[in-house]
């Protein structure tokens, strides 16, 4: 299992979702990805994207106008 970080700061939705989607394609089931963003919309959009594509959200955090979502890649 590997854990990677994706910097999606300053990108507005749906770009953080697109970058997440592209990054996840390079990962394997069980790998983890932390996505760091500044658009609060990701708190809704990335978990939705995970649900419809079979990935699991492990943690969401927000601090000082930054939002972080850690997901585990599904099968």
């Amino acid at each position: 299992m590997i854990k990677e970080t994706l910097n999606a700061r300053r990108l507005l939705c749906p770009l953080p979702v697109i970058r997440t989607q592209d990054k996840v394609k390079q990962l394997k089931a069980g790998d983890q990805l932390e996505v760091i963003c500044t658009d609060p919309g990701v708190m809704q959009d990335i978990p939705t994207w995970c649900r419809i594509n079979g990935h699991k959200v492990l943690e969401t955090k927000s601090c000082n106008h930054e939002y972080s979502i850690t997901l585990e890649v599904g099968v």
Partner: protein, 347 residues
Amino acid sequence: MSKQRKAIALISGGLDSMLAAKTVMEQGIHVEGINFFTGFCVEGHTHAIRESDKAKPKRNNALWVAEQLGIKLHIIDVVEEYKKVLINPKHGYGAHMNPCLDCKIFMVNKAKQWIVENDFDFIITGEVIGQRPMSQTKSKMPIVSKQSGADDLLLRPMCAKNLPATRPEIEGWVDREKLHDITGRSRKPQIAMAEQFGIDDYSQPAGGCCFLTDKYYSARLVDLWKSQGSKDYELDDVMLLKVGRHIRPQKNFKLIIAREEGEGRFLEGYRKEFISMNCTSHTGPLALIDGEPSAEDLYLAASVVARYGQGRHAEQVDIKVMEKDGSERTIQIKPLKSEDIPKEWYV
């Protein structure tokens, strides 16, 4: 046993594409969604930036629709390729800078490429005859099918009965009798159909889902092209057109002035790419200076920025000017009165 047929549905996040996908899913077809990001999508952008829009839901409607339908959604970044469509549309622009017909042809073409690469059988759109004046008329629909290369693999379930049968209907992959015959701009048939499907929450943006149908946004885009002397843009350009007040005192520069805290925070991210200004003696907004201003122009710009701060009635205020390399200096300036800012300066 017959082969499980698969369709890709263009999902905008609105009701029509949702109903079109649902109609075909009801016939046992495996449907997945596809959504194209052009850079001009209304979805959430300004809501994400502006503090005052905090109360509005920040959901991406295309994703939300996909979840309601229980289908996968593929969001495709077409920003670079879309430039050709917008800059030189073969079929021209609509009421504003919206190249709707070329846009539809482009998106259906991309969907056609996608079904070939992913072994899907056909394409679904939520188009309705007569719904949009430029792209959704009976005479334009065959143009979209032909010029996109999708031909008879493009099924429009919402108005299929008013159009020649497509391959999915001829081959019996879908039952034409269970498709629809909606025409016109009335939303009543769609609302009734939504009720039938038990769908009670959906997005119906008045101006569609694209900023290019917006009069004011289009004027800013035309101003950008005129000022740079060419029809070209980067993603940051089109994002910035959505934010702040745009004031162009002269051809060689314009100001982008934050209207509130959220916009200010967004513009902060561009300080290394633009000269920026803000008032330090009084509370005031952040402004970016786009273009090549002379030293004298910066004084004019500072007096405009001062007009939007709390010191607008003061005899003199301090405006900090930050260059792209981070070096700073302060200008003392008398704020312009609002009546001294000509209407023509507002873009």
